[in-house]
Assembly symmetry: C2
């Protein structure tokens, strides 16, 4: 009888997954191939699919089924975990009344268009009022979901279960002082050259090299593909159909390199999730922090590493002989790791990147707790950029209007970027410690020691563990920023030639 | 109150359209970009969307709403027509019990795979048993739907409302004798040369020329696009997002030319449907026959016409100077209209094409009435090809296994191909008669006289009229095969130089 009920539950979950993944296909098409005038109907279609998925999931029948399954027992460990996680999701989604969800969705839609207009006019004033409404709704959302210490905890939890202001404060405090010290130290050194990245590189050659790198990383093209979009992203419609996108800038080689490697890191994770758990929580990724750890590990720890380029740089030179023949692999390695003051988060080096995130984290915390008002964002933004990175913010477009997240209502998302990098460094250290020959393998073009470790310790668990539990099981200890700091100090002391 | 109910009805119809169009996006992706291993999950996702759309449409609430609307009255003409058409669809879909629909869907799925295997082994025997089951189900379907004279009427009706065996027999009888006479006459003439089409034509150049033709035909790229697929098709996700696909054969220029022009004919129709009737019957195409009339009109009456190439051929020569510089526009025109015996319907010229369709029509009629048994198909197929086209069918792959339709359960579909061509010739004659300068306009590259006529007489009506009503209103008379015969005799007498 329990088995039969579990089959009902599986049937329902897979059906809902079908609807959600269908939405993902529509979204992917919208970002890659959809003609301009398709937008209006596509908006409707996406909204309808989201609505149906929500209706089916929050139906009373779902709750009954879950409670029956728990009461009946006789479930395997995997089955029990799936049911528990679904019950958590169900309970949470029931906390937000339909009217609230609709209001949020309408406000977000309005606010997104205001953000576009504000960026166009380079004026925060245009975005202020809808953003203020969103912040108010996010504060209400935190109350509806509930929290123990800080309302922002409820929002952080959406992206990384168990993450709190307390733990994030601790992580960022440990990180901030030594990292800013490192940043200032580097600023006092002789700068490395990366001007060779800003030459003309033909689009087709870049694209071909990008695909070569994806293959070299073992991204499976039978179960995935890469296309072009304005903003690179990864999405999947099952673990056997994973879509990456990239962009190509003919005057800047960096664009495609980092977006390919970064998105492939996400893509390998999606391809590695258990295929037999399609639609079930254990077939889903652990958290946004862990997802980001996968992209950052490949992008930074491996993709900006010397071993990786000792293998791939000769090929890159073959693709672009005129542009790169006079640049040695060492010069290339130093250039791609150049640290310099920056205004734009997505273009930042891996050291100053965390400052960008910590600034947003401080602001979000204040907005959600109510200690900071929406209208004060531009001023506090400028102050914090001066404080952290010693840069002057020239305008709103290159300041608080640069990211889309707030217009989407995504508060609590930014910290996962930094936390992902911290996990990445800790995972990388564990792989390194367990495989004395790993660097040599990477030099020889073999990424399998890394991929196998990730498969064994991360991918196959889906959502079984929280981020921090997963980290503890994989590395022997919970998240600890010292792994990143050790990695960064060692790497940049060598690049900038200080002890 | 009526207005309020109508809004409810519109809301429901648009929501169901969102689900169906979402399925169309998934299908499009499956045929164009989806990686191999995506197939399994995609199958699930498509089935779920189809199921949800069916559930929502056949829900008792839909019927109640429709009946209330009709009882209440106070509807505008457009509203009334929408409600009537939806009620027809609803009534019909209620006639097929869920168990029957499921059985059909399972049998079709099995039968499609059997067809693939049968083609691979070049053996009808492998396909026979599942096809036999499908025929039995189609006979049941005809009984469930109901009919007055012939069970096949119920199936023809699925693709072209009001079409019957009686009218189709009459059309095909009128067509058959003179057309076969024309075919035999042509066979006795000196054959024209089309060998210049079978040279090497680079893929990129063909693709670029294809896009040029689409633009020249006024296909709107803000509301549509073209991609590559194995079998060319047209689909749409609203009248503002219409997708064409084509294929390129580097050794045969004909492939892309006719698939581009043919699909663009379908695409222009989809783009011309009333955008404000999204999801409503009046936003849908009239019938498959009329849809096919649109593709055939552009492909044959215009795209295989001299005026069209007097404008476009110099450009084609610029794209392929080495291959075409010695071929005059007249030689080109004759070559692309070469009539020759053929085994494969999709590769046939516009004269023998109808024989392919009439053969299938005769067989389908027999299978559905029961006068013909499934196992007899290969024999009767060979006999009919000998009779109509004087060709010997060498094997099943080039015989009764060539088309996918039966494996999909599509019986009654084939006749719409010929009927579409007959409508096309009749429409073209009407446009010509109303615009004495039309040929001159086409020679000058202006297709708007054609497009405007189609917009005014076909596109904007959606499903308002049946095919034959639409034809009567547009041309002054119901469908009459003499327009096609006149066109064909005149055109081919000039090409093959007989009186």
């Amino acid at each position: 009888m329990a088995e039969y009920k579990y089959a009902d539950y599986e049937f329902l979950m897979k059906r809902i997954a079908d609807i959600k993944y269908s939405g993902a296909v529509l979204q992917w098409d919208q970002e890659t191939y959809m003609p301009t005038n398709g937008r209006e109907a596509r908006g409707r279609q996406l909204a309808t699919l989201a609505e149906i998925a929500h209706e089916e999931f929050t139906d009373a029948r779902t709750g009954d089924l879950l409670h029956e399954l728990i009461l009946q027992g006789h479930l395997s460990d995997t089955e029990k975990k799936n049911v528990q996680l679904t019950l958590e999701d169900f309970t949470k989604s029931k906390k937000l009344p339909a009217a609230f969800v609709r209001k949020m969705s309408e406000t977000v839609n309005r606010s997104f268009h205001a953000w576009i207009a504000a960026r166009r006019s380079n004026s925060f004033a245009i975005f202020e009022s809808p953003l203020d409404e969103i912040i108010e709704l996010k504060r209400q959302e935190a109350d509806l979901i509930g929290y123990t210490d800080h309302p922002y905890d409820a929002l952080l939890n959406e992206y990384d279960k168990g993450l709190t202001v307390l733990t994030t404060d601790k992580l960022f405090t440990d990180l901030k002082v030594p990292l800013l010290e490192l940043y200032r130290k580097i600023q006092s050194c002789k700068q490395v050259d990366n001007s060779f990245l800003q030459q003309h590189f033909s689009k087709q050659q870049q694209w071909d090299f990008g695909l070569k790198i994806l293959k070299q990383m073992n991204f499976d093209f039978e179960g995935g593909r890469q296309d072009i979009s304005e903003h690179p992203f990864t999405t999947s419609f099952s673990s056997s159909d994973v879509r990456l996108t990239t962009r190509v800038d003919e005057e800047d080689l960096g664009n495609i390199l980092w977006s390919c490697i970064h998105e492939a890191g996400h893509g390998l994770y999606e391809q590695g999730l258990p295929n037999d758990q399609y639609g079930m929580p254990l077939g889903e990724y652990c958290s946004l922090s862990i997802h980001e750890s996968q992209s950052r590990l490949w992008e930074n720890n491996i993709g900006r590493g010397l071993a990786f380029w000792e293998n791939n740089y000769p090929t890159l030179q073959e693709y672009f002989p005129a542009q790169l023949k006079r640049v040695s692999v060492n010069q290339f390695y130093k250039g791609i790791n150049r640290v310099s003051p920056s205004l734009i988060r997505t273009e930042a080096d891996e050291i100053s990147y965390h400052s960008h995130v910590m600034i947003r984290y401080e602001i979000e915390k204040g907005l959600i707790s109510g200690s900071l008002k929406c209208k004060d964002i531009p001023v506090i933004w400028s102050e914090l950029y001066q404080d952290y990175l010693a840069v002057k913010v020239p305008d709103d477009r290159r300041g608080c209007l640069q990211d889309v997240h707030w217009s989407h209502g995504s508060f609590g998302y930014f910290p996962t970027y930094s936390i992902g990098s911290l996990y990445a460094a800790q995972f990388y250290a564990a792989i390194d410690a367990g495989n004395p020959s790993m660097e040599k393998e990477l030099q020889g073009g073999n990424n399998l020691p890394v991929l196998n470790w990730l498969q064994q310790h991360i991918y196959r668990y889906g959502r079984y563990y929280h981020s921090n539990q997963l980290c503890e099981r994989a590395t022997g200890t919970g998240l600890d920023s010292s792994f990143f700091l050790d990695y960064a100090f060692k790497k940049y002391a060598a690049i900038y030639d200080f002890a």
